[in-house]
Symmetry: C2
Subunit: 718 residues, 2 copies
Amino acid sequence: MLSAQTDYPPLFAEALARTQVQVDGAMERGFLVPTPVDMAGGYTHEVHKQNWKTLSGAGAIYRLTGDTTYAAIVRDGLLAYAEVYRDWPTHPTARSYATGKVFWQCLNDANWLVYVSEAYADVYDWLEPSVRSRINAELFRPMADFLSLENPQFFNRIHNHSTWGNAAVGMIGLVMDDEELVQRALYGIPATELPEDLRDDDSGKIMSETGRAGFLAQLDLSFSPDGYFTEGPYYLRYALSPFLLFGRMLADKRPELNNLAYRDSILGKAIDALLLQADPLGDFYPLNDSQKGMSLYAPEVVKTVDYGYYLYGQDPTLLSLAIEQGSVTLDAAGLAVATAVAAGKAQPFRPGSVAFTDGPDGQEGGVGILRAYGDGEERTGLVMKYSAQGMGHGHFDKLSYSLYDGTGEVIQDYGAARWVNIDQKGGGRYLPENQTWAKQTVAHNTLVVDRTSHYQGDIRIAENFHPDLYAWDGDGDSLQLVSAVATDAYPGRRLHRSQWLLTDSLFDHPLLIDLFRVTGDTAGVYELPTWYQGQLLAADFDYTTIDTLTAMGADHGYQHLLTEARGYPEAGTATVQWFGRGRFYTQTMITQPGDELLFVRPGANDPNFNLRRDPGFLLRREGPASTTFLAVLEAHGSYDPRVEVAERPFGSISGLHLIQDDSDYTALRFTHRDGAQWTLLLSNHDASPESIHELILDDTTYRWEGVHHLIKTNDASE
Amino acid sequence: MLSAQTDYPPLFAEALARTQVQVDGAMERGFLVPTPVDMAGGYTHEVHKQNWKTLSGAGAIYRLTGDTTYAAIVRDGLLAYAEVYRDWPTHPTARSYATGKVFWQCLNDANWLVYVSEAYADVYDWLEPSVRSRINAELFRPMADFLSLENPQFFNRIHNHSTWGNAAVGMIGLVMDDEELVQRALYGIPATELPEDLRDDDSGKIMSETGRAGFLAQLDLSFSPDGYFTEGPYYLRYALSPFLLFGRMLADKRPELNNLAYRDSILGKAIDALLLQADPLGDFYPLNDSQKGMSLYAPEVVKTVDYGYYLYGQDPTLLSLAIEQGSVTLDAAGLAVATAVAAGKAQPFRPGSVAFTDGPDGQEGGVGILRAYGDGEERTGLVMKYSAQGMGHGHFDKLSYSLYDGTGEVIQDYGAARWVNIDQKGGGRYLPENQTWAKQTVAHNTLVVDRTSHYQGDIRIAENFHPDLYAWDGDGDSLQLVSAVATDAYPGRRLHRSQWLLTDSLFDHPLLIDLFRVTGDTAGVYELPTWYQGQLLAADFDYTTIDTLTAMGADHGYQHLLTEARGYPEAGTATVQWFGRGRFYTQTMITQPGDELLFVRPGANDPNFNLRRDPGFLLRREGPASTTFLAVLEAHGSYDPRVEVAERPFGSISGLHLIQDDSDYTALRFTHRDGAQWTLLLSNHDASPESIHELILDDTTYRWEGVHHLIKTNDASE
């Protein structure tokens, strides 16, 4: 614990000063402890939420400045709660599977207790022993028991709600030196002490399945061995907080447990996993039910960065994230970060490619992120999702991808259909369209067969399966590959997608090469969406816009789609060109006779205007049991309306074609208008990095080692 | 003229250094003078365009550093042109009403000559007299004659093209001390020396109409007495350049003409008019055929700011624009600006309300801009357009408005349907949808009667009329008013719109109060659009979305509109709520029995996806010969997806109603949820600021002086 100092480095001193302004402002308005009656957003909810911030801020100020005015604020606030807490009934709303006392759900009570425990720790030694005893006995021990023994369905699951419960009980136990609470937090309530028929509210695993509970079980079961969280980064961000706060306090007060190193430093890996799942603007990838706009630079991610730096290796690149966040935690971690920043130790945050595994054992697919750096260190990031379903928040989008560059989203994942905490939109909860649109396959950049979502859009089927990584080459070289296979999304069909990022000085930005092979036994109708961000500029095939717009279908998301235009490319290639944020994009796709391009937009059956009207196009192919889609996406040039000069508005690739494509090998080729030509070879049957392959194409014999191989020539006549 | 210095202030030194990098780079690539063959964007076009930049940059560097390397660049470049110029035929494209020699149109040749004249001035004294003579005789005098005597249809109009021609001929005349050219530039080619049947390419006035030509005539006839340019700020920005460049050189070399003070300092007024027609982000209002995104901070506006500062009064608020521009002109004006910036003289640019008149005599309506400043000096700007048609670039949008705040556009003007210089979109020219959509009334925030555009959408009718300002109160106080009347947009109907910005501490941001009275003799169908920027959150009336979307009409813009939903408000008020860029907006409108709200979006009959899919809604009323629309728009609260807290997501106004509304007076009233009530009174028959009015409402007698009057009470029962 820090002792009072006066000369803190700027980032820390500013964070302290802001906290003081907030606490002083709150105290000026008065510290009230109203009897709880309201739901989230209501008066008593907001007051008690403000109180935890005031108490935790005041505790920190006292600890850092020695000003006992602030210690007294904590003391008096806690005494005010102690005065009334035991007499409060459970919250009158009774709307939760685990109704709280201070708030409508135990989860919020646990949030309160986590942060107030920190405040209590700050003033504990300063308090009169009699005051301590009173607060312990009349407020905290009852609250801890309420959140655990009285609500085992909240406390004893493997679920992020329970992690908050574990952390709350454990942290107050550590402060009060109440070993019984600490043990309960670490290991859960013993099964023998539980009622027979525990109920929960969603698909979180309950104790009866695993036989384990408590903080250590959460550490074992919440993350994959890489620290990946199956619901995606938006939820990892939320789930990580109690791990970090309890984990740090445990490290301080129970160093012998060595929890920071537990499970091969799983907390450090989870920190890294969060920080590595953001686009170049800092926004987390909107996988599954994520809200767009949540960011590395959100206030609650400050502790992730600071604890990652302080507890796990002082990585100087994290300091540049801290600078962008503009704040630090008011503890030793934040001080370490601020001190290092002040010493000029920050280095650019330059994340590399990474393949996360999913599932507690890392055996349930994963998410592959390829990153390539172009001119001016601009980053392009490709995210391919071949993870498990992600529980109740999962989307039916196996092998989907999204693409980001320095301008933000290029090929978007729709994210959730929800406006968190905006009352006008369904009270801020998930909207009906989340189920009917956002979760459906067609809302994502992956293949839809017969206008039916993967696993028929049924979570009960989906949670039994997952795709698998086929090949990975994420070494940061000029050619990187992620390749995965899904065999269960459509029974009897094998989906195999391979995506490359190719960096070459002939292109302004890394090229995306996308190969999607589907093999099956029966004919099908295939639609492969591209949800681009921008305005359509042109296509190189005839298309006709449609005069009467109606919903494309009745279900699986198609009930929300309007077809604005229908295009008839000739067999060969088709390009679609659009303008994003100051940049041009050209996607070139191989086409077969009869292929159609459907230009689509959500907007049908949307009675409350809950869906964004973002554009997309579907490459549609009817008929074959097996077929292959191949596309190359170029990002090029620029346009600034202040200057009105269009730099390189046209793509430079031509002659894209599949030279060979069978169960053994795929060979593809394309040409740059300046003459350079690339031939890219992939083994479809052996992904070993050591295997030697040989392929004869047009009388040329290619031999290579490993799953893929690129040949660049400068003579297009080859 | 500046002499060589080494110790320039930073902004100037940086601009000089950037120029040197550009010139050195261009010379490294080689100075070529290819025979002209290409259109804009083609090779020879781009080379000659680069050459004028290289020459003008080199001239400035020599002037500022004394380094004769750069003088030699200018000399050798000009000699290379002199070697070939007279042998070049007119440009082979022959696509312009005035085909150039260096470029496809005389306009670009004149651009070239303007900038190269500056370079020539820089080195003139350094050149050997024999070289000067050769360049004068073989390049510049022939070029000046070509652009004037050989192309009078280009040179002798009152039009911005001719201004370029005048400036080019005049500037090279000044440099060569060729008085014949200077006189020709100032006064045009005498009518007696012109062919009989001069032709031009658009609606610009030709000499035969006014009997005058040349630079001074342009100064008299191009602007209103306020410096307003009838085509709007996007075109003013372009038209202003030759005025400023020739004007500055004239002031230097012919001070006796005193052109800077000509017509009551019209050039200074035009500079102010441009700088005052931008939103809080710096973007020019997209009036008429304007491109969105053109900005105060565009490179070509640097000289406007610098000359405005240097030549017209050293206004220190312009310095903060220069800082944001990050550059200055490489001349005495730029040095003055950079020096003042370095001395810390910059003050915030804080434009106030202003009413511009339109027409050469200021008698053809105008544009009223109300500006109010709220918390943190955030600016809200309201633009009401009651100007003349604006020639070929005008839109049929009498009494339309647009609204801007610190987030940018709130209620948008669509601007032009054009992607300047983006080849995929009609070669960068105006698109067909500019005529069929962007110019039509329904694309704007003003009243459409019987689904027919103002003046039947016919420029031949429109150019005969203009609305008139009825009342103006733009003193910057808490209540400001702009009010205008259009009597000719629909024969037999008088349109009278009054808009107020009301600043009150009860509201987060200034309130817009919008009163639109239409009086006539025959029944009509009225549709009043609101083109909001953002996502629809909610409406407080029932609406039903539409399953089958088709074009709303066949012409006047309606052929491009889809009705997405139809709402049926009860008589009284209706609100529409949307979310903009991090901020909430609520519009409350009074409604009558039978009124409908149509939620619409462009998208129909758009075969090349040329139109943006921006949302809007129309308040539709059928029947009466005379009727009144009243709306109040609140901007409130905030939402940040990184924090997920919705601050004040709901508006606070209720009880909006018209208490009285007749040809004498309109009285309206509304209430804040906290109890405050406003009663706003307007005289519809006497706008004099001195008149005394008396009105009895509900037994209360109101007496006031001037056209409008606001009463605020804190007792809602009043």
